[in-house]
Symmetry: C2
Subunit: 508 residues, 2 copies
Amino acid sequence: MDMLVQHLQAALEQKNEAPLYQVLADTFASFINSGELEEGLKLPTSRSLASSIGIHRNTVNKVYEELNNRGLVKSVVGSGTFVNAPQKLREPPALQGTSAIPWNSLVSSIATAEPLTRYHRLNRYVGEGDYINLSRMHPSNELIPSELIRKCTDTVIRENGPAVFGYGSAQGLAELRQLISVELHRAGIPADKDSIIITTGSQQALDLVARLLCNPGDTILMEEHSYTGAINAFTSIGATIRPMPCDEDGPLLSALESVQPGSAKALYLMPSCSNPTGRTISLERRKELLEWSTRKGVPIIEDDYGADLDDESSPRAIRGLDANIIYLGTFSKKLAPALRVGFIISPVDLVSRLISLKQAMDLGTSLLQQYVLAEFIKRGYLRSHLRKIQPVYHNRRMKLAETLEKHLPAETRLRVPDSGVLLWLQLPAGLNSEDLFREALDYGVLVSPGSFHSVSPLASSGIRLTFCAEDETRLEEGGINLCKAIESLLHRAQSFTNTNRSAPLDGV
Amino acid sequence: MDMLVQHLQAALEQKNEAPLYQVLADTFASFINSGELEEGLKLPTSRSLASSIGIHRNTVNKVYEELNNRGLVKSVVGSGTFVNAPQKLREPPALQGTSAIPWNSLVSSIATAEPLTRYHRLNRYVGEGDYINLSRMHPSNELIPSELIRKCTDTVIRENGPAVFGYGSAQGLAELRQLISVELHRAGIPADKDSIIITTGSQQALDLVARLLCNPGDTILMEEHSYTGAINAFTSIGATIRPMPCDEDGPLLSALESVQPGSAKALYLMPSCSNPTGRTISLERRKELLEWSTRKGVPIIEDDYGADLDDESSPRAIRGLDANIIYLGTFSKKLAPALRVGFIISPVDLVSRLISLKQAMDLGTSLLQQYVLAEFIKRGYLRSHLRKIQPVYHNRRMKLAETLEKHLPAETRLRVPDSGVLLWLQLPAGLNSEDLFREALDYGVLVSPGSFHSVSPLASSGIRLTFCAEDETRLEEGGINLCKAIESLLHRAQSFTNTNRSAPLDGV
């Protein structure tokens, strides 16, 4: 016990940011867990321990309360506080080693589909170092209002207690759906709360819609380069993805005309800031696409993941023009991915089926996170936050574009859209996007190769760049280093071609 | 402005639990939002406003800071604080009314499968009233340690800031997997952190495993009554569920012998406290099932949702005997559903494919919630919490069982297992579980009809009862009322049979 008192005093002197009682409880706990204070030992009264180590008695009481919460002491009324040492670990038995289960023949065909393996294939090249991240599409740390989210969480739990910790409805918290409805109204998208279904991020919204619409073998229309998560979701349900030819303003009407009614389950689109190419479809083309959809009976799935990330320069969402659009939204990009809250605005006819499927998939999105987000929106924090990040993203786009335009070799072509969070870099014919991905890693830069976002499992010569995750200084540095990587790759490709003209570049 | 000061003073007098600055900020905000304080209006200095309403200047500064967070005021250095009124709503256009999209022909066959509609079919009978809930399997409010979770959340966000708000790895937070590994070790289940995959509740774990193993049309073996969420998950992937005959100790080996190698993808089991019947399989039968699985090459999916809810009376998990078991765990029942954290212990051969599928489904479980749970376990709160709830559940089981045994009509048969959180009530032949479900609602009691958990879409004469959600007093009251409902239904059925012997009971 004397040893403990000495350690507690030492802990007091080294005290850091954590509350005093936590620091002392940690020291105390390590003595109990190591067995130095044995089971059943009576602890000194708080008064006596307080005077031994020279702190207030109330603090010792808080330490004992914390130890009680951790199950390390037990109070017995009228006799005092006793050590309640943890049980010793029971050693698990040695397990049978070799497998009699033929796993390879048991795995489903979707689980082995090529698109699902892309992430792993690329990610294993990425080391632990400090890369300048031109790939990651979520906000950099200084743009995540963690302190405000903490406050909202604290209020929500204090005011509601255990009620926010149960299962919610599979459709989602009504109050949150109502608040989202008002936000959508503000953006010119009419959607009442009954047509909104809350999902665990918009990735799950995609998975949900894929399962709602597709039997294995059904066809989904997409652009040739599209969101890898959408490719995965439709692949996971066994759908066939048919790429549609596009111009700079989205899918070509002439190509869509050849689609027979009943031959495709939907057209999947990101009308604003398409991932990965960054192109935004004009209002006129949006109206033409809508007319095509209505005439052919092929619905449009509108993924508006980047909504509100720039000012009002984007055309109105297609869902703002027609109530039969399946619209997907998310708070991952405009607020914080870890909330895992996205949503679907559903055509009336599909709502109850989407809810049943959502129930089957995860019983509903975290009620706590939904309450926290509702509090965040209700207080007006969201709108204020968006007004803060919009100019930051605008300036970053300008900085990255300027840097690249200054340093890029003439053989490349850069597309800088007026809005959104993506730039698209077209490499010279013959240069492979995954080769550049690996080369850029050596220059300390992370980029997203077009092959990762390609509907066809073909090599792609495009690179997706984003500026979400880095500040202007690092964007400039990253842009310069990326250009060096491209020069280096070009140089190697040219000298290779000069010495061995018959071999394909992919063999380099 | 004078009006505002009066309202602020009035708010001061009616002050409730919320912090002072929040109350004042709310009042202030309503003045700005309503337009009573117009755009650009200069606000009084904090010193002057503080003296007008008689509070400390620091509080007024906090009010202004909060209004700034909400985006309702703007500070201009050297000139003061100004109202920054919110933009007016832009009216969305009227939307096209009627649908040209043939939704019914577009919906997938799984989305219309019968099991997925059960929840809705039953739930529409349930009104808003205060039912005694013998159906809900999550902890009652007094058993959810919301204050401790709040503390952990607060610490985690304060100490890590924005870092906990990003996307995590699809496999899950390594620290949390390590902590779960230690907890499993304690329960005699060896599992290193690399074999663990974190999921959004164990419902998603089921969905994930179903997609990993099943092509549409593949066969999954289950008991005749099984977890409705498992039935949904396998239905959603288009699998065929084949019910296995059982005795009181689980699936019959004689029946399993007829399963040909390669003809089934897995046997899904809840060895401890099977949902809905409550039966726990003996250690001997567990070993026989394992031997069968190894010999036939048909894997076992072990759903251990109720682990740690009672003391050590259950036999060791089958995953404690063999590393080829696919094991599913969850923190929804033992801690709080809204954390939405479950996990899979995967055989080595399946880990990377499960991670790829998980990535495709939702990009990973909320990083924040994983950090919070890790903190909760690390502090020792979880073990202490479990020691607290185990005797409570034990006493509730006794109370509900005693009450029912005293009041049940002789025609029924009640099964009270030694462990777990479920009782199973067998109604007399001819009584339908959904009829009793509806009758019990009239008596203010919610129960879960066997038909909800039945693999075959047949009427069931069993009722699942749980005591998780109610205290002993309400359990007694609920038990008595349930018995009255059964008497009433029996009475009606008998008088109906007496007057019209030829009609089936289902027609009542």
